[in-house]
């Protein structure tokens, strides 16, 4: 479970990147966070992984406060960054192996890694290829494979489908659905309104650091998400 | 177009603080060098004042030159005193300082700083000029916006060159102005000409190093690899070629080991003295000892001739080989400009031998009469700056040729460079 309680981040230059975010994401749920660039989506994720510290409030992973016990908290969450970058001179399997061991999974063998790589849809011949030859899509798949191997109860993704072709994006979302089925908590920030509407259990819209709207899937079925989004954005433009 | 590209390079160096940091580093290093070498000069000057002869002493000693503050070179060797005695030449003042730790670490005189450290800076500022931009994606942009590859090469080269040379030049100029008020280093007219010639040469040398680095940046696609290639080149240019040049020269131009030369001199001394004593015991009268002393000098001169010939051949061979590297050529010509080179030391020794020949009769006379005699003062000859420059054409040409080659490589490589 992921909890943000009055989570606030103000940078040294005065910019209020996140303004008292209150949010809970339950296990077995996909939560998509929409918003313009600079709205605070990436800041939220950064706060959950102790890349930055909150100015006020707290972020909690399975009840553990991140700022107070970062290592314990990170043990329970997997991170997939926007534009996954890995060690270019290592192969896909070697990267996977390194991060698996770092996550404490030391019992896995080559076949186990291959199984995960197959599951995420990476071509067989890429398993032992150096990552620096990979396309963006291949790297994203490897990123989620790393998260799967970690087998953490929470998965946070920062714009994971940005720049992917439609087929790859669809496969990716299907994978997230499987993970949700396993009872994991999925939190992702995205610009992709359509996939958000299709796969998310709940959708939130962030504007200038504030969570201005949250709708469940059922509520969204009746409304036009795109128009909602643009409305919220236009309010800002008019003001 | 070229100037636009150049200006961007300069701005980036300024905004990222690299130019300022380089200025600070250069200021600190050049200042340390001046301080250290000036103290050294003061110590040598004090030594000179102690061993300086009055007219009744048959001693040849050359005063230290303020130019040695900038390039130590062989200044220790040239500051020795050479006392002409009846039996030979005594060396004095060979250990200039009490603290043996002075010679243990590299002396950061200006010559070392330009030859080694600022050359490294040149390499570190130029190695990613092309490949860095490729990695950032901005090279594509430049080419697609209509700039020819030639213009890019010239513009970036020019901008980067100004960005790295200007802070160093400013720091140098500042210290030149402050040298007198802060350290009391007083230079005469001819000295100034030599310093300026030295600095001009240094600027050419650094530019050539920079050109080599930029050529490297156009030969690689990743700045990580270009960095080590640049470092490797710096090591080869500054250390490996000069050292190996000298080593190879020693294989080609053999010099008799010092121990054997010293042994020969001892033998001459011993045999002549023995013969003198024996002749005296046998009853010979007259200036027996004086004859043998004169003979000692004559035979000693033959040894000196031979040694000078061998060392001269070695120096010439070594200079030719060392010249293959811009650092070696720079070092050779710079030390000659500042008067502390191997050539200058050889000239001093020739002057000493000439002086010895001139005053030897007086030395004998003084010994015989048991009275003091007035000796003419020792004067050392110096090569004029014009002469040094004329003789140094080969060194200058060597530096410039390498620079031209590097620039050629840059243009060729950039034309075939994969900018994607």
């Amino acid at each position: 479970m992921l909890e943000a309680i009055d989570l606030t981040k103000r940078y040294e230059d005065g910019l209020l990147a996140l303004d008292h975010l209150n949010l809970t994401v339950e296990p077995g749920e996909i939560f998509c966070l929409l918003g313009a660039n600079g709205a605070g989506k990436t800041t939220t994720i950064n706060l959950f992984f102790d890349f930055i510290v909150p100015t006020d409030g707290s972020a909690r992973i399975d009840g553990i406060e991140v700022a107070r016990e970062p290592l314990a908290a990170k043990r329970n969450a997997a991170y997939v960054s926007e534009n996954v970058m890995l060690y270019g001179n290592f192969t896909a399997r070697q990267n996977l192996d390194f991060f698996a061991q770092l996550s404490g999974r030391r019992e896995l063998g080559r076949e186990d890694y291959y199984m995960v790589l197959r599951r995420v849809g990476l071509q067989e011949k890429a398993f032992e290829q150096r990552v620096k030859t990979f396309s963006k899509g291949m790297r994203q798949k490897l990123g989620i494979a790393i998260a799967i191997v970690k087998d953490a109860p929470n998965v946070l993704l920062d714009e994971p489908t940005a720049g992917l072709d439609p087929k790859a994006a669809a496969e990716f979302m299907a994978l997230l659905g499987e993970l949700r089925g396993e009872g994991k908590t999925i939190f992702m920030s995205t610009h992709d309104i359509f996939r958000a509407k299709e796969h998310a259990d709940r959708v939130g819209i962030m504007k200038e650091g504030r969570l201005v709207m949250v709708r469940t899937r059922r509520e969204l079925a009746e409304e036009d998400l795109e128009r909602l989004y643009l409305d919220y954005m236009e309010v800002e433009a008019a003001a | 177009m070229i100037w636009t590209i150049a200006r961007r390079e300069i701005s980036e160096a300024l905004f990222t603080g690299r130019a300022l940091l380089l200025f600070v580093i250069a200021l600190a290093l050049l200042g340390t060098g001046l301080y250290v070498m000036d103290r050294d000069y003061d110590a040598r000057r004090a030594n000179y004042d102690v061993i300086r002869p009055d007219p009744t002493q048959p001693i040849a000693v050359a005063p230290p030159s303020p130019l040695s503050v900038f390039a130590r070179g062989l200044d220790d060797a040239m500051g020795r005193s050479f006392e002409v005695s009846v039996i030979g030449i005594d060396i004095g003042g060979s250990q200039a300082s009490a603290n043996p730790l002075f010679g243990l670490f590299p002396t950061p005189d200006w010559l070392y700083l330009f030859r080694v450290v600022f050359a490294l800076v040149a390499f570190l500022f130029g190695f990613d000029l092309i490949c860095g931009d490729k990695e950032r994606g901005t090279l594509k942009l430049m080419v697609s916006s209509g700039a020819s590859r030639g213009a890019i090469a010239v513009g970036k080269w020019l901008g980067g060159w100004l960005a790295f040379l200007t802070p160093i030049a400013l720091a140098t100029a500042l210290w030149l102005v402050l040298a007198r008020p802060v350290f009391g280093i007083a230079l005469r007219g001819d000295d100034w000409a030599r310093i300026l010639a030295f600095l001009a040469l240094a600027a050419v040398y650094l530019s050539v190093c920079y050109a080599i680095a930029v050529a490297i940046s156009a030969l690689f696609h990743r700045s990580g690899t270009a960095l080590v290639a640049a470092l490797f080149t710096w090591v080869v240019v500054v250390f490996v070629i000069p050292s190996f040049g000298v080593l190879a020269a020693r294989q080609i131009a053999h010099v008799r080991p010092l121990a054997l030369v010293t042994a020969e001199r001892s033998r001459i001394f011993g045999s002549e003295m023995m013969r003198a004593y024996e002749e005296r015991r046998a009853g010979r009268t007259g200036p027996v000892f004086q004859e043998h002393w004169a003979e000692m000098h004559r035979r000693g001169e033959q040894v000196s001739d031979r040694v000078a010939g061998e060392l001269g051949a070695l120096a010439r061979t070594s200079a030719s080989l060392v010249r293959l590297s811009p650092a070696g050529a720079f070092d050779g010509l710079a030390t000659r400009m500042l008067g502390t080179s191997v050539v200058d030391e050889a000239r001093l020794k020739r002057d000493v031998r000439r002086y010895t020949g001139a005053i030897l009769p007086l030395v004998f006379e003084s010994r015989n009469a048991g009275a003091e005699v007035e000796y003419p003062a020792f004067t050392e000859s110096r090569a004029t700056l014009g002469r040094v420059l004329a003789d140094g054409r080969a060194d200058l040409a060597a530096i410039v040729v390498i620079g031209a080659l590097a620039t050629l490589v840059l243009f060729v490589a950039l034309n075939r460079y994969d900018i994607r």
């Binding site: 890349f51 | 340390t32 301080y35 043996p100 090591v235 000069p242 010092l258 042994a263 011993g270 120096a315």
Partner: protein
């Protein structure tokens, strides 16, 4: 540190090491490191072989000369240089063969001194280590992989330590390879024989070099943990190298000279020369006259004898045996006078030197203390002490030489002169040709391995301290590091 954390830094170290070993950067650095170590040792070994051959020739030449032209009064002219130290095959030490006391010195040896491991490791490998490690953090940040690393259950301390260890290991591989090759060159050289003690010292030297290089890797990682971009790390690393290698070591003796000045050595040398020469002669002559005067008064007949030449003296002695006794008395008195003169002047000279030594020692101590701010002098001092090419060995040698002079040489010379005088008291044996090829020669006994290691231990400890200190500051910097 819990078990996972302990595993984590090892994981990071191994990853770092493997990543570097397969990169092009490593290949070039490995070639430089291996190449420089191997060639330096090869060149120095050959130079040692030449020095040894020269030494052999000098010894043979000297023996010949002593046999053919030897006479006691000028025995000092046949100065025998020390047998070359076999460890100069790796480290040259304080005296770079400048030979400035000779008229025939080779200036090229000063202008282009031979490189040795102390300089190659100290000056070049420190730079290489810095440039190898300067982008440990900033590089990974720019590559984008640092985020994922930090997003795991791994402390920042583990990351810093793991990276430092990994990079150091990668660099130590070619260093070890180079050293091993050097060892093979030395073992295979027909002219170079190292004792077990020397091999031991070389092993400790190699370990010290490894620690030194590691310290600079830690410095590079430290710089990286405080800078955001690799380009900035590069320039800061260059500045750090300039400060540690050029500025601090160069400045220390001069600042020490300000804090603990000594009298001018040249002036002292000149003073001592006069005292030992002219003044001693004057004193000796004066004392001689003093001591001899009463004897000559008592035996006026000796005046006539003294005016004769050698041949006539011999004749006179056979005719009047009493003269021999008087002559003996005179000689004893003269000897006594000269011994007294020598003693007085020696004591005065010794006093001057002793005062000077105290000042000099103070300055040297101050220099070492000031220069301990940088790891480079610590490495150099350790290298010199381990190879027996530094001040310590020099002082040891001086003491041994003095002891030799007192216990072996002087008695030999006295015995020889006594025996010669017993043969024929009329001859001026000091200026007569004698076969002196049996003169006892001094040979230096190098310090034991244990002694050398103990001497070098504080410097090696200092290097370890630097490594840990740099690492600690790196951890501090990385704790606040923005990994995005």
């Amino acid at each position: 540190m819990n078990k996972q954390a302990a595993v984590s830094w090892r994981l990071v170290a191994w990853k770092e090491c493997r990543e570097l070993l397969v990169s092009g950067r490593f290949l070039v650095v490995a070639v430089i490191v291996f190449g420089l170590v191997a060639t330096t040792v090869t060149v120095l070994t050959r130079s040692y072989a030449r020095d040894l051959a020269d030494y052999g020739s000098a010894v043979a030449d000297r023996q010949e000369s002593l046999r053919q032209h030897g006479h006691l009064n000028r025995l000092g002219a046949w100065y025998l240089p020390d047998r070359p130290n076999p460890m100069t095959a790796v480290v040259r030490g304080l005296h770079q063969n400048a030979n400035l006391e000779s008229l025939d010195n080779d200036p090229l040896a000063v202008a282009y001194p031979l490189p040795d491991l102390a300089v190659v490791v100290g000056v070049l490998f420190s730079l290489l280590a810095l440039l190898f490690a300067h982008d440990a953090m900033s590089g990974e940040r720019e590559d984008g992989t640092l985020r994922l690393l930090v997003a795991h259950d791994i402390s920042r301390v583990s990351i810093v330590v793991g990276k430092a260890v990994g990079r150091a290991l990668a660099l130590l591989v070619p260093l070890a390879a180079g050293m091993l090759t050097g060892a093979l060159v030395i073992a295979g050289s027909p002219n170079l024989e190292w004792s077990a003690s020397e091999w031991g010292a070389a092993t400790v030297l190699a370990a010290a070099a490894a620690i030194y290089v590691t310290a600079f890797v830690c410095l590079g990682v430290m710089i990286s943990a405080w800078t955001r971009t690799a380009r900035t790390s590069l320039v800061v690393s260059l500045a750090a190298w300039a400060v540690f290698i050029l500025i601090v070591p160069a400045l220390s003796p001069y600042i020490a000279g300000e804090l603990r000045p000594t009298d001018s050595l040249t002036q002292l040398q000149r003073r001592v020369r006069v005292m030992g020469d002219t003044e001693r002669d004057e004193l000796g002559n004066r004392l001689s006259r003093e001591y001899l005067a009463p004897i000559r008064e008592r035996h006026p007949e000796i005046e006539g004898f003294l005016a004769l030449d050698e041949q006539a003296r011999r004749t006179a002695l056979t005719t009047d045996p009493r003269l021999a006794a008087v002559l003996d008395t005179l000689r004893a008195a003269s000897d006594s006078a000269w011994r007294t003169a020598n003693r007085i002047q020696s004591e005065a000279i010794d006093a001057l030197w002793a005062d000077f030594e105290i000042e000099r020692e103070a300055q040297i101590r101050a220099t070492r203390r000031l220069s301990s701010v940088s790891p480079y002098p610590a490495w150099v001092f350790a290298a010199l002490d381990l190879t027996g090419t530094g001040l310590r060995a020099e002082q040891r040698r001086e003491l041994q030489a003095e002891a030799f002079a007192q216990t072996t040489f002087m008695p030999w010379r006295r015995a020889l002169t006594d025996s010669l005088i017993a043969i024929d008291p009329t001859v001026d044996w000091w200026n007569t040709h004698i076969d002196l090829s049996s003169v006892p020669t001094f040979s230096y006994r190098p310090e034991s391995l244990a002694g050398r290691v103990v001497a070098a231990a504080p410097q090696i400890g200092l290097l370890l301290l630097f490594a840990f200190a740099f690492l600690a500051v790196g951890v501090a910097g990385f704790n606040g590091y923005d990994v995005r």
